[in-house]
């Protein structure tokens, strides 16, 4: 029997518009060396270090195939993109792969203007992203 591990991390990082801004990161095992990372909230200069820490830990544990689901992400800045680029470099060194799930036109525009649409596999659904996890 395969035990699938789940981990949810909540992080409250700052006040924005008078409210605490929370980010939630869910990780779940989807295969032998693969994990899905689901991010909810904003990936910015404040939250990026935590997102980086969690993804780096997964990669260091041998998860070279990641699906990063950005459907719950409302905002991503250049620091957040840097985290994704760094993670992709790490898994590629081990012949791994990172696919993204994103159907939000605003977030997709960010990937377009930076040319990252040609670097990452970006899919509309998690199922598609998982099916296309290839070296």
């Amino acid at each position: 029997m395969v035990l699938h591990s789940f981990l949810t991390v909540f992080l409250s990082v700052r006040k924005k518009g008078g409210q605490t801004l929370d980010i939630r990161i869910d990780t779940r095992e989807t295969g032998d060396q693969s994990q899905t990372v689901e991010v909810h909230g904003e990936i910015d200069v404040y939250t990026s270090p935590k997102v980086k820490e969690i993804i780096t830990e997964l990669i260091e544990k041998g998860n070279n195939y990641l699906v990063i689901n950005l459907e719950g992400v409302r905002y991503i800045d250049s620091t957040g993109l840097g985290v994704l680029i760094g993670a992709l470099k790490k898994v590629r060194e081990k012949d791994g792969c990172i696919n993204l799930v994103c159907d939000n036109p605003q977030i997709k525009k960010i990937f377009n203007i930076t040319g990252l649409v040609r670097i990452f596999g970006i899919y509309k659904t998690e199922d598609e992203a998982l099916k296309n996890l290839k070296p």
């Binding site: 700052r14 200069v45 404040y46 800045d77 250049s78 840097g82 985290v83 680029i85 470099k89």
Partner: protein
């Protein structure tokens, strides 16, 4: 024009962004434009906070202006080292993964998301002027982005 003045420190970044966002909300600008202006301003502000004062104490002024022609303008002023944002080369967006760095996209973001960015050095001040058109059809007289 009134300016919001805070120290150039990360804990004040949300205050600057709240100010810019609230001004845009008050003008009835749609959320898509607010997202882009906020992101562009964040990138410029973070750059100033990290590099303008080289670890010394400094401050930032932020002012906003809306022109009847349909332009939302953000002025970001610091008194740090002279830094002409217009002279920063754009990263190669066609580059392969191996050729890419994790950083260096911020100013490119700002340039891409705003319609126009200008820079002036006025005595000891770096002045970044960021413009975003909020009319879909120039000269139509109808602000389609207003609620």
């Amino acid at each position: 024009m009134n300016y919001l003045n805070y120290p150039a420190r990360m804990e004040y970044l949300p205050g600057f962004l709240d100010y810019i966002r609230n001004e845009m909300i008050d003008l009835g600008i749609n959320m898509e434009i607010i997202f882009e202006v906020e992101l562009a301003c964040e990138e410029i502000l973070v750059n100033i906070i990290k590099y303008a004062y080289s670890g010394k104490v400094g401050d930032i002024d932020v002012g906003v202006e809306y022109e009847d022609e349909g332009e939302f303008i953000v002025y970001i002023i610091d008194r740090g080292e002279c830094f002409n944002i217009l002279q920063v080369e754009n990263p190669d967006v066609e580059a392969s993964l191996d050729e890419r760095d994790e950083g260096g996209l911020g100013i490119h973001f700002a340039r891409s998301l705003m319609d126009e960015i200008d820079y002036k050095r006025d005595e000891d001040k770096n002045i970044v002027i960021m413009k975003k058109r909020i009319l879909r059809k120039q000269g139509s007289g109808d602000n389609e982005n207003k609620k």
